[in-house]
Every structure is written in C-alpha cells, then in structure tokens.
Amino acid sequence: KARGSSALVLCMDVGFSMSNSEPGQEPSFEQAKKVIQKFVQRQVFAENKDEVGLVLFGTDGTKNGLAEDGQYENITVHRRLMMPDFELLEEIESKLQPGGQQADWLDALVVCMDLLQEETMGKKFERLNIVLLTDLNVQTSADQLDVIIDSLKKARITLQFFLPFPVDGEDRADGGGDGPGPSAAPVRPGKGLSRQQTQGLEMVKNIMTSLEEEDGLEEVYTFSDALQKLSIFKRIDRRPMAWPCHLTIGSSLTIRIVGYKAVTEEKVKKSWAIVEAQSHQRDDVKRETVYCLDDDNETEVQKDDTIQGFRYGSDIVPFSKVDEDQMKYKSDGKCFSVLGFTKQELIRRHQFMGSQVVKVFAARDDEHAAVALSALIRALDSLKMAAIVRYAYDRRSNPQVGAAFPCIKEKYECLLYVQLPFMEDLRQFTFPVLENNKKFKPSESQLSAVDALIDSMMLVEKDEDGESVDVFKVNHIPNPQFQRLFQCLHHRGVNPDDPLPPVEPWLKRDLERPQAVSARCQTPLQDVKTKFPLKVVVKKKEQKTSADVFGSSADEPDAKKVKVDEETEFNLAEIAKGNITSVGSVNPVRDFCTLIRQKTVSFDQACQQLTHRIEQLLGNRSPEYYMKSIACIQAFRDQSVSSGNAELFNSYMQSLKRSVPDRNLQELWDLLIQDALTLISKDEVDGSTFSKQDANQFLAFEQKEEVQAAPVQEDTGDVDDLVSVSCLFGCFNDKHIIYYICECNSDLQVY
C-alpha cells in the first residue's frame, strides 16, 4: 500500500554569474549547492522510493540528449533518475563545481522535461517534479514559453523555483525574521536586479501562475528560506494502520469503529549492526550463546537440556512452555468493550499508562455507525464523562483497561483512548508533608519572588490581536535524537575519517529557552537567587569515592588525589583546634591526622592507635561502623603515602585480608574494593615492596570469582556507562565497579 513515489529532477545553474557575490556574501552557487545537498541528504535518510536526477547548466561541457547543432549547449545531465544514495551526495560534495559558461534556464528546463519523460516511461510515479535553482541572470528566449507551459501541463509536471531573491518585495517583509541560515541578505527585487533577472522573474511568474494559478508563486523559494527548512530532517512519516473493531455496550449495543494510533513515541527505524573492526564486515562477527551451570567449571549444557522455570519468591518453579501456554490467561480476541462510564475528573492525567493514544472513529462510510458513535461522543462530552473500556488489540495480546475520552473538533469527532493502570502497576509511596512543614515553608517574600519569576517565564504570550500564542510548542520540535543521528551518519558517510561534527547550532537553539524569555527572567531570577539559599550538601565519603573511581578511570597519578585529601584533613584539623593526644573513637580520622601533623606522637604510635580503633570498629559488624573503618583505612593509607612509609600500612592490610574469612568481613572487603583501597605500591612510596600490579592484584584475588559471577554485565558492554552513572548519583553497584577495576588491571598488564 506504499504511497506513490515521485520522480524529481534537480536542475541547478552553475553558470559564472552564480559565483558572483557582493563582498561578505555567500555566492548563490554555494547556497544552491547547499540546498541540493540538504535535499538529497534528506531523501537518503528518509529511505523512500523517490527517484532523483541532476541536471547542471552553465557547465563548460555539454552532455544531454537534445544537444544538436549548437542547440542546448552547456547543459549536462549529471545523473539520470535514480534513488538517491551516498554516491550522489559524495559527487555533489566533490564534483559540483562552478562552470565558466552561461546557459538559458528555459533550455535547461526542456532538457529536464525530456529526461523525466524518457526515464519515467513505463514506471508509475505519483508526482513528476522539476526543481530549478538559478539566479535568472542570463538572456532567455521567451518565444517557446507557451509551448513549454503546455507540455508541462500535459505531462503533469510540477515546478519549483529556488532563487537568490524573493519573487515579491512584500512577501519578503512578511516572511521576515527567518533567522539563521548562512544566508546573505537577499537582494530586493527591482533593486539591484539586472535586466535579465527582472525579465526572468516575469517569466517565472508567468509559468508558475499558468501552471497552478495563484498558488503557483508559493512554489518559488529563496535559497536561505529553503536551507532553513531543509536543515530539519524529514520527520519519520508513518501511516497509521487502521484497526477495525466493535465498540460494545452491554450485550446488544454495538458500534462499528476503526482505531488509529495517533500519538506514540517514534523510535529510530534502524538499529546498529555489529561489524568487525578491521574489515567492517558484518559476516565476520559470529555471535554464540551458550548455556552453562552455575558451578565452578561453568559446565556447558545443551539448549535442549534446559527447561524453563519462574521465580516464586525464593523458589524457582519449573514450568514448561507447553504448560505455560495451556494454563495462561486466554483472551477472546480483539475488543473495545465498555465497562462503564465515569467522571473525567476521576481519571488522573498522570496515571495514563502505555505508550500511545488511539483515535477511534466510526467505520468508514458507515453513516449509521457514525451517528451512533457521534451520539456517544456528544453525550460524554456534555456530561464531562469518559468510557472505561476493556481493550485488546488481538487474540495474542494482553487485555488493557483504559479510558475513552470524547474529542470534538471543528472538522471531526472521535474518541481518544488511553491505557490506564492496573492495580499491580501502582506503587503507593507516602512522602513527607511539604506545604505545612515549618522547616520548608516559603516566606511571603520568597513566594512573591517565585511569582515574579513565573510571570517573566510564561511561554504563552498575547499577540497584537489579544490571541494567546504558544511560543514553545514541543510538538513542533523535531526529535533531536533523530536529527543528530542523521547529521552524524551523513557526516561520517561523506567523511569516513573525520571525527563526529558538533551538534548543529539550530538544533541546540531549539532545545534552549526562547531568547526573549531568557532575557525577561534575568532580574526575577537574580531575585530568586538571593532570596533562596540553595547549598550543595557536600558528602565527604561520596566525593572521595567517586574521585577515586574517576581518578583511576582517567589513570591519574594517585599522588594528586592524596594531596587533595590531605588538604581537607588539614582543614578539619584546623577547625578542631582541641588538644589531641590520642586517636579517640569519636573521630579517629581527624585525631589520627592531627597526631601525624602535629607530630605529638611518633608515626608508628599513631598508626598503632589507629589500627586499634579500626579493630574495635570492625567488632561491630554494621554498615555505619564499616564506613567509619574505611575512612580510617583511607586516612591510614593517605598519611602513609605522604609520610613515605608504606610498610605499616601494607602489613596491616595483609593481616586484615587474612582475617577476612574468619571474621566474616567479606562485606568490608567489598567496600575496600569499591574504594580501590589497596596496598601502597612502589610507584607511590619508594620503600614499598609491591609493584603496582601486585597492589592491584591484592584486591583482585576476590575479584576473579565476582567477575565470573557477573557475566551479564559483559553482554551489555555498557560498563563504563554504568560506572559513571552510579558515581554521579553517589551510589555504587559492586559488580560493575569490580568489573571495571579488572578492566583497568588488564589494561595495566598490557602496557
């Protein structure tokens, strides 16, 4: 049922006048070339069946079917009708050069018509179109004009013109403000136009109006206009499938309906294939999935020897596919059955489920169904009610409960169906009170500051006629994901060795607050800023850990880290100016650092006191104490590194490690792994007897198993992603990080 495709010839003037430009302005040639590029690019990514040809005129050479006896010279058929591909894009990029001649654009038009006629013979196209890009700056012979118009009409060929200047002076003023584009301000018609251009313009008007009457001139664009419009990749255009069904109310009342998916989140059509890095061949990569037991040997099991089961709490219940199919819920086919009617206000907008909105119409060409459905829609609308329906797409799909809202538009009426939640979908969370909470209650002045801010940031404005205008319509913005993807694909396709380009400025701008709003809210925002004290809460522990992980990921020298830490500790010690003589239990880290800094006791003694405290803390096996212990170990390590004394720390760590199984300190050890708190290596302190590799392996001993236990992570290949996300949120997922650390290790081993 594909819609008819079109055949289209791009006909571009490359004659020498196209290369002329006022100083500081982009020559018409460059602009026209960009229009063509953007257009073809759009076609390539839209992947429709349209065919495109390219004819150039004003070329030094001549190559076309009509050239004879000096007629139709300097016109080149560059490419016959074909589906546009990257080859064409590359050719445009590299081979489309300004020519040194001039040619009659009417002659070029005739060549295009000839080409279209010849190439579309025997093929079915819904639309034949010629796109002419020229500055009209050439002498044309108008004597054949009527014949040309006639044959255009006869062949049902439509025309589009792209000119450096607007066809009409007044139109310019109206269509003004067309922001970006590399456009040079177009020349005003009548002013600065050459005699040929004025004459040409008349002819363009003549042709266009005789082809399409008054609407004809709408098909004449300026280069800059076109560029702006074309820079947006065509939105993914999908025809919704009709879903015929019956709306039922009780057993006897039935209305024939048809549903269409009207709103749904559009996904990128193509997914990424995996290719071999060298050959770029897809076939070189084979994927294999094996099943294995969860034992030490990872004994492989044949797929046929597996059955399926489901978790039921801590149990796994074997439940074969056959049994499952036999016992599972069976739905009796497609339906749209009314369960009852309810007040619209009882259906909360935030409880809409699913990923789509379905528009429901009466069956096409069934006026009785139309009347019946119309009665329902109007009844619901006037009562402010909605129908709650059971909806099943077909026999295989799960039934839903949803709401059908009435929707009455000027031109049509329909029901809007949205899925609603099941009891199992809802989570009842209770949150602490906000507005009546004394701690958080905003003062009058704070409220009015926010009030002013809101007023300055309204996105709906009144225009001169008092109509409110939405200045930021999300549903008019193309999905930036697709735009960016196609931009990068195009760039990479044409320049395989270049890095990816930056995000297009217009796309960036589309995602920003409108400038006018930004400007307006400056002052109120400053006011809000001063009236509301907002302070980032620094969580020592979290920061340190993330710094650690980031540090190792960037392979920064550890020394840098230590320094930072030392400074913070130093400050802490400064604040707590008390007389510290030993490592206490309340704040052992601070005490320890102070002792070392003030040299109250010897380094050995301080360390001994600290380890004593650590051991005490570890006696309480509870997370809070673990955190404290780890802070101590961290401080111990940091101070050891800065004092250049690795021995005490390393030997303590080794003994700690030995005691892990007996004292059941596995959890603590995991935390040490997270924080990468390992032995001090030679790289850090000269006196150390451990290489960096040893140090890393010191922890790695636990890791091996862990890594194997987490093969799922390997599949996702998204490890770094996960690590950084968890870091950002200050929370950690053991396995990911362990895996990550292992990766670092292996890297180290390689280099």
Binding site: L88, P240, H246, I249, S252, V258, A262, V263, T264, A273, V275, H280, V285, K286, D305, G309, Y312, S314, R348, R349, G354, V357, A363, A375, L376, A379, L380, L383, M385, R390, V401, F422, D425, L426, F429, L434, E435, F440, P442, L447, M457, M458, F472, V474, R484, G493, L500, P514, L525, V528, K529, P533, K535, P623, D718, L728, F729, C731, F732, D734
Partner: protein, 610 residues
C-alpha cells in the same frame, strides 16, 4: 534487582535500558527487611462480634498478603514472622522464653505461604494453641530476639522495619522493670536503624497508645507527619492498607539537578509511581536437576574463530547503499546533548497540556534536601505558585548520561488526604512526557454525519445508567494474576490454580439489566432495522458524499407518500428508523403522543390506510 526489574519491565522491550528501575540505589543499600512481631496472647484470639475474625486471624491474613506480594514484586526482600507472649519458645539460641520465631529473616518462598495458611481461620487458632500457646509476655525479650535476627543476617540490609501487631495497649501488667527493658531494647533497635511501627488492633475500651507504645515506636519521618494512627485498625482492608503503605520503602529512580537557570539549582528525586508490571521472564533450568542455567554470549571471528573483544567490533548502519561505521563510543556520544538533569524552559497554563499528548507513563519528583539544602523550600514555593495559578512548568529532561533530551510538563500536585487521613496523593510535581513532532502521526479523520439531540439524549440516559466511580487500583491485571496463580498452584502442590476473577471483562448481564429497554431504544433511533453492526460491512450504505451533517441526513430520508404506502402494504414500516418515521409523521401532519417506534408505526399505518 534483576527480578524486580523484570516485573516492572517496560511493556516495550526495545525501550533501551532507559527505564531502569530504582536501579543504582538498590545494590548499594542492600536488601529491605521486614519483621512481623505478632502478639500471640489470649486476647488476640478473641473473636469479634457477629463472627468477625479475631485480631490474630486478621493479622495472619494481612501477613500472608504481604508475603505473596513480596514474592511477586520484590522477592529479594527479607521477611520474618515472630510471635511473642507464647507458651512455647523457639528462637535461634533458645535464649528467650515466650518468643517463638516462626520464620527467620529470609526471602519468602512457597513453603512460607503454606506455613502461614496453617495459622488461618478457626483451625489456625487451634494450630497456634497447639504449637505455641499463650503465655507470659515480655516485649523486651521479643525485641531483643528480633535484634538478634537482624544481626545474624550476613547480607547488607538497607531498610529495616519491624511491625508490632497487638491489641493490648499495656503489656506487662504494671511490671515497671519489664516496661523499662522493652523501652531500652526498642531504643537499641532504633539506634541500629530499625524502624518500629505499631499496627494496633481493636481493643474493647479503646487502645491507648500513650500508655506504653509511644515510647516504643519510631518517631514519625518529620515532625509534621501524623505519626501514630490514633485509631486502631478495625477492618482487614484498613490493616492491609496501613501495612502496605509502610511495607515498601520508597526509592528514587534517580536524583537530579533541577535548574531554573543562572545557577539556581535545586535537587530532586525522581520516583516511579506507576509502571506497567509484566510477567517476569523465565529462568532457564537444567532438565535433570532443575538447577538454574546461565547464558553466556560470546562474539567470535567467523574465519579464524578468535574471540572478539569489544574493541574488535564496531557499529554500522546502511543508508543510500553505503555502510556507515562508527565506534561504540561514538554511537553513545551521538545521544549526548547535555548532562543529566531538568532544565526549566518556562511556564504554560494547564489547558495547554493536551490530553492526547501522551507517550509514556508519568514520573514524579520530590525535593532532595540531602543533596542541595534549601531545595524543599524552593520546590514548595514553585509548587504552591504553579498550583495557584493553574500552570505547569515546561522542562527539558535528560534522565541519565548519553541520553537524548525530552520535554516534560511538570504538573503541580498538592497533597491530598483520604477519609482516614492517610496520604492519598503525595505533594510534588508529576512529570508528564510530551511528544515531539515525530511522535504525532497524521491520521485522516473519518468524517460522517453527526447525531441529533434526541439521539445524544438517549445516549446520555445510557451513560447515566452505567456510571460508576473509577478508581485506579480497582482493576487487577488478569494476565499477571493468572500467571502467579499458576505458579502458586505448582509451587504449593495444589491440584489446580485458584480461579481468578477477570475484572477487565464487562459485566454484561448486569449492564443489560441496568439498561433495560434503553439499548433497543437507542438502536431504533440510530440504526435502520436491517442494519447489523456486528456483520461484515455489508452492502455499502450510501456515503455521505456531501460531507454529511445531521440536517442533510434528515432531508435525505424524507419519503414520498407512495413509498410509505408501499411499506404499509408490505408491513415493512418497521425497517425504517425512528427519525424517518418521525419525519414521515411530520410530513403528514400526524400528531404522535409517544416517541416509541411502535407508536409511530401504528400512527402512520392508521393514517395511510385510511
């Protein structure tokens, strides 16, 4: 987490790794745990008037429902069931008298359900009497025992909750030493992060929390929370609701910065209050041993058989006959526009939020004071102002790294309480996802004739007859219910699964009864007699070529006297619709008393056969 994620998996499997559940938080914080500490004294077994279940029975039903829901939705959570005030004693070291640990802290399985079933009903009471009996009470010992349960757990516990079920507001008969011991033990528990709740049940003469329990339970989350429910639970539903509200720890999906611009940033937590629950995916088991089997996926080179590491592979797509190749990193980079967070664009009146602009279930945000202090105050100010002015805030939302932005509407939600003063809707902003241009499809509207007022009025009667109060938690998912009933049957060795009630099916008989003749009357008004809406689109009816409209339709159906007489002669007047008949009556100036079809036919027949 994996299991939980499966359960709450998004309907659409392709939805990237986008909708990860509470994700990150979970692993670090470990598992949730819940201890039911149930009073087993004689008072608990007293049956209510009119054969109402005893407090003990009610408690057991409630515990059972928590067990099953844990099994379904969060099977990694740990649950324990401990009785106190028993005659018999059973606890790990048997160091406590009159404390009976029925289930140690563990993730619940099918056996646990079977065990609890033994305690249900009349038989359950007898069974309890036989195995445990009722004896002396020492809440202090009971709490001590529970604290041992916690400390014996080797896993890291994130959220620790203990619920005391009792109907006695005074436990130790004035024994001050025991009271003191209970207080101390409760304080110890609270110190280690255990939250103690009281689920107090009805007691003749009223339950006085202030006598004893106010010192036992944890203080409310913040000073303004109502804290202790003053009224004891009378009904099972109340109890279940109360337990349910506490049982699940709320966890944010992520914590983000909400930027108003110019460095004015607050921190918010993003919560999922509704997500399509789906059947968990199957686990592969070894046929012989029923051991779980893992899958390993490997990539290797087709020619030399070598294992391919991530670095040995690239990503490619083909467009315009050309293969375009990128590194995996680049594929990710393409999706990056900005750092994660919410960025305020501006505000719009609520009526600009279109009903049909829906692409995903909503999220919910609530301030995070622990990240940026002052967030709550700023947030509250925004909430109050937006709600007062009936506005929503438009924001750009990037949920995580390397994720393209979407625009969302932040819809203000002020706190709402239900009759029992429990929070029905929490305060915060709902995050409604808005469609981009690409997400809106072009639908060719079907244009047809519209209904007349009479037809609409008849439908209004129908709507009126079938109205009900919609509640979002009224419908259970029959597919899931059936699945878990099946599993339950297999796990608990039942002969066949308990039947489910499919609430999504229309109650046709009831509807028909309520409608009475209305359905037929409406059909007579809109359908011609030979029209069968259920059949295939039979002989195509004349299409409303001129674009339709009620007025035109009426004009079209006017009939000549000739035709009508013909109908009368053949007794086929009944085939015409009511509007046609009415028009005919009007045409001949026939006065009709009623609007019933038969009355119209009779009147016409009378007139025309004269």
């Amino acid at each position: 987490m994996a299991e939980r994620r499966e359960y709450y998996q998004n309907e659409d499997d392709e939805v990237e790794e986008d909708e990860e559940d509470s994700g990150g938080d979970y692993k670090i914080s470990g598992r949730d745990s819940l201890v039911f500490l149930v009073d087993a004294s004689k008072e608990m077994f007293i049956k209510g008037e009119d054969g109402e279940p005893s407090n003990f029975d009610m408690t057991m039903q409630c515990v059972r429902s928590v067990y099953t829901s844990k099994i379904i939705s969060s099977d990694k959570d740990l649950v324990a069931l401990v009785f106190y005030g028993t005659e018999q004693s059973k606890n790990p070291r048997n160091s406590f008298k009159h404390v009976y640990v029925y289930h140690d802290l563990d993730s619940p399985g099918s056996q646990c359900i079977l065990d609890i079933d033994k305690l249900l009903g009349e038989k359950g009471a007898q069974f309890a009497e036989k195995t445990m009996g009722s004896g002396e009470t020492s809440l202090g010992d009971a709490l001590w025992c529970c604290s041992n349960l916690y400390s014996d757990i080797k896993l890291r516990l994130s959220h620790k909750r203990l619920m005391i079920f009792t109907c006695r507001d005074e436990h130790h008969g004035g024994d001050g030493a025991k009271d003191r011991q209970a207080r101390t033990k409760a304080a110890d528990l609270k110190e280690t992060g255990v939250v103690i709740d009281l689920m107090h049940l009805t007691k003749p003469g009223g339950f006085d929390v202030s006598l004893f329990f106010c010192d036992i339970v944890s203080p409310p989350e913040d000073e303004s929370e109502l804290g202790l429910q003053i009224e004891p639970c009378r009904k099972l539903e109340d109890l279940q609701k109360r337990v349910r509200a506490k049982e699940l720890k709320k966890r944010s999906q992520s914590r983000l910065t909400f930027s108003l611009g110019e460095g004015v940033n607050l921190a918010v937590g993003v919560y999922v209050l509704a997500r399509t629950a789906t059947k968990p995916s199957a686990v592969k088991l070894h046929r012989d041993t029923n051991e779980p089997v893992r899958t390993k996926t490997r990539y290797f080179h087709a020619h030399n058989g070598g294992i391919l590491l991530p670095n040995d592979m690239k990503r490619a797509q083909v467009y315009g006959k050309k293969q375009i190749v990128m590194e995996k990193d680049e594929v990710d980079e393409i999706k990056k526009f900005d750092d994660p967070g919410l960025v305020l664009m501006g505000f719009k009146p609520m009526d600009r939020l279109k009903l049909h602009h829906h692409i995903r279930p909503a999220l919910f945000i609530y301030p995070e004071e622990e990240q940026i202090s002052g967030s709550s105050c700023m947030f509250t100010a925004l909430l109050l102002n937006c709600s007062e002015k009936n506005l929503f805030a438009l924001c750009r939302y990037i949920p995580r790294r390397n994720t393209p932005p979407r625009f969302v509407a932040l819809v203000p939600q002020r706190e709402e309480l239900d009759q029992s003063q429990t929070q029905a809707t929490p305060p915060g902003f709902h995050v409604i996802f808005l469609p981009f241009a690409d997400d809106i499809r072009t639908v060719d509207a079907h244009v047809g004739p519209t209904a007349s007022d009479e037809q609409v009025d008849k439908m209004k009667e129908i709507v009126h007859k079938l109205r009900f109060k919609y509640k979002s938690d009224a419908f259970e998912n029959p597919v899931l219910q059936q699945h878990y009933r099946n599993l339950e049957a297999l796990a608990l060795n039942m002969l066949e699964p308990e039947p489910i009630e499919d609430l999504t099916m229309p109650k046709v008989q009831m509807m028909d009864a309520r409608l009475g003749p209305l359905a037929q009357e409406f059909k007579d008004l809109v359908y011609p007699p030979d029209y069968n809406p259920e059949g295939k689109p039979a002989a195509k009816r004349k299409t409303a070529e001129s674009g339709g409209g009620a007025a035109e339709k009426k004009a079209k159906v006017e009939m000549s006297e000739e035709e009508l007489k013909n109908h009368v002669a053949k007794c086929t007047l009944g085939k015409l619709t009511v509007p046609v008949l009415k028009d005919a009556c009007k045409q001949f100036g026939i006065r009709t008393t009623g609007t019933k079809k038969q009355e119209l036919i009779d009147a016409l027949t009378m007139h025309l056969s004269k």
